[in-house]
């Protein structure tokens, strides 16, 4: 809301303080200053009359004008090198062409500071002449662009000023305007009336409501109206003004206020309508009475009906739209925009003034449905004072009479009445209790009253009836805010509450942190990526058409049609990140991400929209949860390039499938869960180099070398590896108490055994067979895999280092021999032969 300071001061006598201080007080009164507009121009900004214009073509073909301008008392006696007669004037170079001799223009003489330009105008030599200042455009003056001046110099109305007059005061450029941010609950402050009331409160000065000063017609009259939808239109008022002189123009004081308030001055009748909306907050509409046929009717539109609005757009309406109709059809979209057929034109003399109170929700929906924001709708959707229709219309009529020469027809038509406001009761100490500030009941009562409330106090209870314009005062706490606003937010003391003691982080929070640290300790760099993906991402991963990971949670309004939903795998993010890094020239990249994936739940119910007057039952809450997709935390990572870097000490070592598996193994160890590694085949991995991780029977993740086509699709080198694990599953399986340390100080017996087995016997199967072969086996570690001569074709040699130990005694030779025999026999079960 732009509030011209001159206008504000005309409505409330504010103390003589700086604009900044007024803005600061209003900010602390919940009318936040966005910026102070205007007022920055200093120096001789002057009205001038163009005497001569001599076009001069330049070498580059551009034509500039060498002008002589009469600036009255500020003229130089003569201008050397000037075109035409040598009479007192100033010589100025101007590149624009939309003016002619005789025009009144605005001249910034040397010494003028224009904030839009950011520097002081000087006298300077240009295009072969000394230009003694500048002829100004609207933009250079900081005025809003106007269709008539957008292409150049501001040309003033003939006769509106004399050469040498101060253009600063003529155009109101010394006026300052406060651009205030009005929160949605303070609809009343979208008017000078509302801001003035708050300013009076903020400065503790008296306030006279300008609405009270409007004379109100009595008796029946106006223009006949039928309201068929009183819920959508609780109050509707019409007045008629006849004999308005269409040649009258808007007085400059009104045009200036409207312009400073951020709207455009258009014609007297339109300006009056907007002026009253800005002044009192009552949007209104003027119809050409001679174009309206029969009664005005307010009703809902029928499907298929349409209306051409004032912006010349034909709009198809729905039965939710509230419209105003005459005998010829729809003439306006209620509260949003009028229609073209009945609008005032250059010859309109007789005017029907309409002012209504519309249901805010209806306007809100209509405005959104038609994507038709307007100054009127902005006010109606937030709530316009329902008591104001008659006074608002009367104020429009009053100005049409005073400024337009019209005559107000007697009486008015007002259908409906403002809904009564209920009193709100609450304890008198509530403001102090909730604000934490010592606000006495007496101070609170005074504040409420000055806001326009009717207050009664019985013992320890207030009963407060809010005024018609306050849509935000409904609950006791709303009045706390009002009291606090006057007492000062800046005065709230600082008191640290003392909770009774929490339980710290949850187990899953602790374990997720642990995983983050383990990954970083493993040399991985965490990334965080956007979760939006689409079919192209799944294609790049090489997912089969029927792969369930292609089934996404989709969005109604994705930012990009290429990425219509949320990801089902974090591999999309880490591989993109790896790809970006490789593309930026990093050879060795190790990245990870910890985040949620989004897995649709087939047959999930819709999420119910419960009421808000009570807590939903546990069963109702369970339906809410069941309606949502599963969103488990996953971990994914990708390793590209060297795992051990090449350097002076050696050629380094490329990351390979084993590194990928090892990352997951470390996570399992960190969380004390036993992950069983199995051979697997799954996109996006190499079919022979992919491991599945099984936890308590279920597969919880995969890791391995990327399929060459996937690596290539992401622009990664061959042999890049990756993995992804369901972190929630790992955390859920992580025991509260980790494994008990078990070790013995007694001597160990070491045995190295190598077995020949068929090539398809996995190392893990033989290892686990050996581990459980004999109770004395303490540990089994594979230290060599060998194929080739002399190992027969189709077989391999697996060599294990075994440690045997008893917890309570030193092993005897006999025991060792027995254990060794058991190990050999266990290997034989898998077809293994001791080498």
């Amino acid at each position: 809301m732009r509030v011209p300071l001159e206008w504000l001061r005309s409505l409330v006598s504010l103390p003589d303080v700086s604009t900044e201080e007024i803005a600061e007080r209003l900010t602390m009164f919940d009318l936040k200053l966005e910026e102070i507009v205007g007022g920055g121009i200093t120096g001789p900004l002057t009205v001038g009359r163009v005497l001569e214009v001599r076009p001069e073509e330049q070498k580059n073909g551009k034509v500039i004008n060498w002008c002589r301008v009469d600036v009255g008392a500020l003229n130089e006696p003569s201008v050397p090198d000037a075109p035409g007669d040598d009479v007192p004037s100033r010589g100025i170079i101007c590149g624009a062409h939309n003016f002619k001799p005789g025009d009144l223009v605005v001249v910034s003489l040397p010494g003028t500071f224009l904030p839009e330009l950011g520097f002081e105008i000087g006298s300077r030599k240009t295009y072969g002449h000394v230009s003694d200042g500048m002829i100004c455009s609207t933009k250079e003056l900081g005025l809003p662009d106007d269709a008539t001046t957008a292409d150049g110099i501001l040309v003033l109305e003939p006769g509106s000023a004399q050469p040498g007059d101060s253009a600063t005061s003529l155009l109101g450029l010394d006026d300052q305007t406060l651009d205030l941010e009005v929160n949605p609950d303070r609809a009343y402050a979208l008017s000078l009336r509302g801001v003035a009331r708050d300013a009076a409160l903020a400065f503790g000065v008296p306030f006279q409501d300008p609405a009270d000063a409007v004379a109100v017609p009595t008796g029946s009259g106006g223009y006949p109206v039928r309201v068929e939808d009183p819920l959508g239109c609780p109050v509707f008022t019409t007045l008629v003004v006849t004999g308005v002189d269409p040649t009258r123009t808007t007085p400059s004081w009104m045009a200036r206020r409207i312009t400073q308030a951020g709207m455009r001055s258009i014609s007297l009748s339109v300006d009056i309508s907007n002026y009253v909306m800005l002044e009192l907050g009552q949007p209104n509409h003027c119809y050409d009475r001679d174009k309206v046929a029969g009664d005005l009717v307010v009703r809902r539109a029928e499907a298929g009906e349409s209306l051409t609005t004032l912006d010349d757009v034909k709009r198809t309406l729905t039965p939710e739209d509230l419209v105003i109709v005459d005998d010829n059809g729809i003439i306006g979209l209620a509260g949003v925009m009028g229609g073209a057929s009945t609008e005032l034109d250059d010859s309109s003399r007789n005017v029907v003034v309409e002012a209504a109170f519309w249901d805010p929700a209806t306007i809100f929906r209509g405005e959104r449905r038609h994507k038709l924001p307007s100054e009127a709708a902005k006010r109606y959707e937030r709530g316009v004072d329902p008591e104001l229709t008659l006074r608002g219309a009367a104020r429009v009529a009053q100005l049409l009479v005073e400024l337009g020469g019209g005559t107000l027809e007697p009486g008015h038509t007002t259908i409906g009445q403002a809904p009564a406001r209920a009193a709100v009761t609450f304890p008198v100490d509530l403001p102090a209790r909730i604000s934490g500030l010592a606000i006495s009941p007496e101070d609170a009562q005074l504040t409420f009253e000055r806001n326009g409330c009717a207050v009664s106090r019985e013992g320890d209870t207030f009963s407060v009836t809010p005024p018609s314009w306050r849509f935000d005062l409904n609950d006791p706490y709303d009045f706390v805010e009002e009291a606090l606003r006057s007492a000062g937010y800046e005065n709230v003391p600082s008191v640290l509450p003392t909770p009774t003691g929490g339980r710290g982080l949850s187990r899953s929070q602790v374990l997720r942190r642990r995983v983050g640290h383990v990954l970083a300790g493993t040399g991985l760099v965490e990334v965080t990526t956007l979760p939006f993906v689409g079919p192209a991402d799944f294609d790049r991963l090489g997912l089969a058409d029927e792969d369930p990971r292609r089934t996404q949670v989709l969005l109604e309004n994705p930012l990009s049609s290429e990425e219509p939903g949320l990801t089902t795998t974090l591999l999309t993010g880490v591989l993109k990140a790896a790809s970006l890094n490789v593309g930026r020239g990093h050879e060795d990249v190790a990245v990870d991400e910890i985040g949620r994936v989004f897995l649709p739940r087939p047959g999930a119910p819709d999420a119910p929209l419960y009421g808000v007057d009570r807590r939903p039952t546990p069963e109702e809450l369970a339906v809410l949860d069941a309606s949502l997709p599963e969103q488990p935390f996953h971990v994914a990572f990708a390793l590209v390039g060297q795992r051990v870097r090449r350097g002076w000490s050696g050629p380094g070592r490329a990351a390979d499938w084993a590194d990928a598996i090892d990352v997951v193994r470390r996570l399992g160890e960190a969380l004390h869960v036993e992950l069983v590694v199995e051979q697997a085949q799954r996109a996006p991995f190499h079919p022979g180099r992919c491991a599945a991780f099984r936890l308590d029977g279920s597969v919880v993740g995969y890791a391995g070398e990327l399929h060459p086509s996937v690596a290539s699709a992401y622009g990664l080198p061959e042999r890049a590896v990756a993995g992804e694990v369901d972190l929630d599953a790992l955390i859920a399986a992580s025991p509260e108490i980790g494994p008990r340390p078990e070790f013995s100080a007694l001597p160990v017996a070491k045995e190295d055994l190598a077995f020949l087995v068929d090539a398809d016997v996995t190392a893990e199967s033989l290892r686990s067979a050996l581990v459980s072969a004999h109770p004395l086996v303490e540990s089994v570690r594979l230290f060599d895999v060998y194929t080739g001569d002399p190992v027969p074709e189709g077989q391999k040699s697996l060599a294990f280092a075994l440690r045997l130990r008893a917890p309570d005694h030193t092993l005897t030779d006999t025991e060792i021999t027995e254990a060794r025999a058991a190990l050999v026999s266990a290997a034989e079960q898998l077809g293994g032969v001791l080498r």
Binding site: K32, R382, Y477, R503, Q509, T522, G523, L555, R645
Partner: protein, 367 residues
């Protein structure tokens, strides 16, 4: 070997003469001292203490002495041999130490060679700042609550006093999950977790909620469709705006140092009443009159916007099953991404999301 010398005349057995033994001993000790390497010393040992050394040869002559003279001669030889062995042992130790010193000098390496053969990992600053904030509150006895990112419309809006026609719903450009009729959204704030907490726990409640939230903003240098917030919620008997101020002051000091203060400005949020914007004293110029005018961080304001807060609207309490006649509470929320970008002077928010490892690496495993 000579035949037994019946007529004893020690002088006749020259090697056993005292002066001769002294000479042998002195020669040996001198040779030991002259040995400069362990190899030389080995040679000296053979020559002066070995089987064919003068002392060994002298020892063999003892048999030629009459029995009554053998004891003396034996003693003399023993003493000489002892002296030689002692010298050998001492010199061996000396030379071993010298040799080790030499070897160690030879083994000198250039310790400035790069040792970064194994890659170093790092954690994303957004992760770390969420943990830092959580730790500040956990230290005060609060707990950390979490909730889903795809959320029920009712929890994201209705339960928070944002009814279907509430103007505030237009202020938050929401991602709707298909089909829209199923009333699911990508949460636009972490506030539904506050509602979930009230719906599932009995007061007193003190929780802080860090997490990802979504708005339909196209990605550019200052906007992202996904960002991170931290919100707090306290519900207890007798809580007021003053407790909110105390909590935020403490939080601000924990993050920005003991000199930090906050400021309330009135504002509007549907889920709080009264509502306030909370500003931080500008952490660059500290609103110092000499610096504030030219400060780019606060643009001359002396304060920077931090977040929104207020007393929990009793309508929210009712929808979430908390009795507003018994309990009151406060809530606050602020963005974390901008905290990172402003404190580390990062011009483009997209840097947080691209995954360039050079962005994350400097943060290491802590801010």
């Amino acid at each position: 070997m000579s035949a037994p010398n019946k007529d004893f005349d020690p002088v006749e057995v020259t090697p056993l003469r005292a002066d001769e033994l002294e000479r042998v001993r002195d020669e040996a000790v001198a040779a030991v001292a002259a040995a400069s390497t362990l190899a030389e010393l080995k040679q000296v040992r053979i020559e002066h203490a070995g089987d064919r050394s003068p002392i060994a040869l002298a020892n063999r002559e003892i048999g030629a002495l009459p029995p009554q003279a053998r004891k003396d001669a034996g003693q003399r030889i023993g003493q000489a041999r002892g002296a030689i062995n002692q010298a050998l042992a001492a010199r061996t130790a000396e030379l071993e130490q010298l040799e080790e010193q030499r070897r160690l000098v030879e083994e000198t390496v250039d310790v400035t060679l790069p040792t970064d053969r194994d890659p170093v990992g790092a954690r994303h600053p957004i992760t770390t700042i969420q943990e830092t904030v959580a730790d500040i509150f956990v230290a005060m006895g609060w707990e950390v609550a979490e909730g889903p990112e795809v959320e029920a419309e009712w929890l994201n809006f209705d339960a928070l006093n944002l009814g279907p026609d509430h103007p505030a719903r237009t202020m938050q450009d929401t991602f709707w999950v298909t089909p829209a009729s199923a009333a699911r959204v990508l949460r636009t704030h972490t506030s539904p977790v506050q509602a979930r907490t009230m719906l599932t726990r009995e007061p007193p409640i003190y929780v802080v909620v860090p997490g990802r939230v979504y708005r339909t903003d196209e990605a550019d240098a200052t906007h992202m469709p996904v960002f991170h917030q931290v919100e707090g919620l306290a519900i207890d008997k007798g809580l007021s705006m003053a407790h909110l101020k105390g909590t935020l002051d403490h939080f601000a000091r924990a993050v920005y140092g003991t000199e930090m203060t906050t400021r309330f400005r009135p504002s509007y949020f549907p889920f709080t009443e009264p509502s306030a914007e909370v500003d931080l004293l500008c952490y660059v110029c500290h609103n110092d009159p000499a610096e504030v005018a030219s400060c780019g961080t606060c643009r001359g304001e002396g304060w920077v916007e931090w977040g929104g807060c207020g007393v929990v609207n009793p309508r929210v309490l009712v929808a979430c099953g908390v009795d507003p006649e018994v309990y009151s509470g406060f809530a606050f929320g602020m963005g974390l991404d901008r905290t990172i970008t402003s404190r580390y002077d990062i011009a483009d928010l997209r840097d947080l999301w691209d995954g360039d490892i050079r962005f994350t690496e400097p943060f290491g495993v802590g801010l």
